[in-house]
Symmetry: C2
Subunit: 175 residues, 2 copies
Amino acid sequence: MSFVHTLLLAPTPQSWIARAHGSLDVLLVDHANCEKKAASTALALMFAYAEDLELADHMSRLAREELRHYELVAQLLRKLEIEPKRLAPGRYAERLRRLVARGEPEREVDLMICGAFIEARSCERFAALSPVLGGAAGAMFESLHEAEARHFELYLGLTWRRASAPSPSSRRISS
Amino acid sequence: MSFVHTLLLAPTPQSWIARAHGSLDVLLVDHANCEKKAASTALALMFAYAEDLELADHMSRLAREELRHYELVAQLLRKLEIEPKRLAPGRYAERLRRLVARGEPEREVDLMICGAFIEARSCERFAALSPVLGGAAGAMFESLHEAEARHFELYLGLTWRRASAPSPSSRRISS
């Protein structure tokens, strides 16, 4: 957890935690979207770097795990009788991606760093949310927290892999 | 299997089977792409109909299964030392989707029918390919054949569901 904090520099403000606590329905619907987006990002990387079977294998397993998490959140939405409703999408990931290099292999390195940041922030946030929320939602975020830490480490490992040995097989495939 | 043939009207020509048999590398690389596309389609339906938790649950499980199949194909590519290479994408699914209605609930019904057609064709093709290919590839297509039949039935069930009882929760969410 400490390495996550080192990377993030700033902790999530207490005011965010309090607001999330007071809007459990929005928090959970948004989180269901986030799990789908995480799966979608992993799948997009499988298309973008289709020649890299090692990356694709990691991303395929990651996408499957994110989808299992989506199913967990959806189950909780049903249990708590929360209707999934339309939400304005957060701009956080989009703003991170604006900083991504256009040329390879820098682009792949940057995309992996974005993945690491997003997973690290989720990890830090879930650890802070879980004791405040309590109940079924608190337990769910507690269980997801460990997975986000693993995903953070996966993206970080893939960053080092590409940054230290740009492979000719990392040519981007537009498909 | 007979219902699959009824839906498809025409069987895959023997010339296609012979050509696929003679180009195992292209067949397998293309099939790896198809499994990724099938997962991607299921995920896109989860975003498009985010308010429909029943559909999303089916699509999430389907996407996870397609990704497991992708991993199987990728494993075989590695075993047979076939390099994943760039292929011109097939236009089959794209041409089917051109026929999809723009308004709801017809659009969702049409998308489910497209899914049923694509899975039915895979099912029929894998059954025809498997004995001709033999070996590890034949065994893999034999094992996938049963899954494609299940997916065909899933999409067909979802077609009836929406066609017989258009639900107000089926409003399309653009996300």
